[in-house]
Symmetry: C2
Subunit: 187 residues, 2 copies
């Protein structure tokens, strides 16, 4: 059983701290009585305030319709400890199995959206649909992060960055160049 890190509230305007580095994330959804989770690597930060993120959710995914109909999701951040769950989730469809049960992930109620948070993840970002202008053409959803929670430690967890072909890069080692930045660009 994976660890369930204790999380605390985190400012939504600062979620780039976790998403800009480009990790694989687990996106959860709910529609009526059904919940689902998918692996996703195609996302970008779009704005600090409101806190906007763009997600490309391929229309073939079981999650696509659930997210489109509900207009909500949770972006959960897994660390390397969850690599086998991340891979497993990306290789089966929620139309066939309960992926939470199969991969040992625990749902918990989110604060502001119907989609569940995943207890074993390092962080969770609750999202509401902000703009669907590019959903039909590119399956590109723009969400606003309305609530963020992050584990207090480790400060710099190792995350997974997908390259395709079953291969991930692992990120976590830190290189600071803070002293070289203009103060206006620092938080």
């Amino acid at each position: 059983m994976a660890r369930q890190p204790k999380k605390r509230d985190f400012p939504v305007a600062r979620v780039r701290r976790y998403l800009e580095p480009g990790p694989i994330v687990l996106v959860t959804s709910r529609w009526r009585d059904e919940t689902n989770v998918m692996t996703l690597g195609w996302h970008t930060i779009l704005a600090f305030a409101p806190s906007l993120v763009g997600l490309m959710i391929a229309a073939g995914n079981h999650s696509f319709d659930m997210i489109r109909r509900s207009g909500e999701c949770v972006i959960n951040l897994p660390t390397t400890a969850l690599i086998d769950a991340v891979v497993g989730i990306g290789n089966v469809s929620g139309a066939e199995v309960d992926k939470f049960a199969r991969f040992g992930l625990t749902r918990e109620d989110a604060s502001l959206v119907g989609a569940p948070r995943i207890r074993e993840c390092h962080a969770s970002f609750e999202c509401r649909l902000h703009d669907d202008a590019l959903v039909d053409r590119y399956s590109f959803f723009i969400f606003e992060v309305v609530k963020a929670q992050v584990a207090a430690s480790p400060k710099h967890p190792e995350t997974l960055h997908y390259t395709g072909d079953g291969v991930f890069m692992v990120s976590g080692r830190i290189a600071s160049r803070r002293s070289l930045f203009r103060p206006a660009l620092l938080g």
Copy 2:
């Protein structure tokens, strides 16, 4: 002087290999006689074929108008060896200095676009504007990668992933789970 890795052609449908992990990139542009380069961390893959990538280029950047007018750019991938150039470029404006000269980067002509490639980078992805529907609202450009070139070695270069506040995560160590993937999901 940084190394100038020899690059060779790479299939545009496979650029996710380098961009999906979420590295900081250097985006070059040209408008009339002027060239420029900016640091960018807000991007995502959107499709394999055509090879589409989305870039959020904040309107305050000197590069914004140059890219909007020309409808072209090159996405260059720096490794950790270029960290000080990456930081420097992100902290000055092209309206004030020639960033190539100041940070020791060498322009070379691209194959299909007017914007220059950067010789010291590990890879270059030449892009033409595909869709500007979200530029006014979100400064979000959708480009098609029309030509890709990648250094043959190292196979897995260390890349920089920005977290804000002057701090990068370094990525490069590999974790393969290829044997756990459905064949249909492998290249």
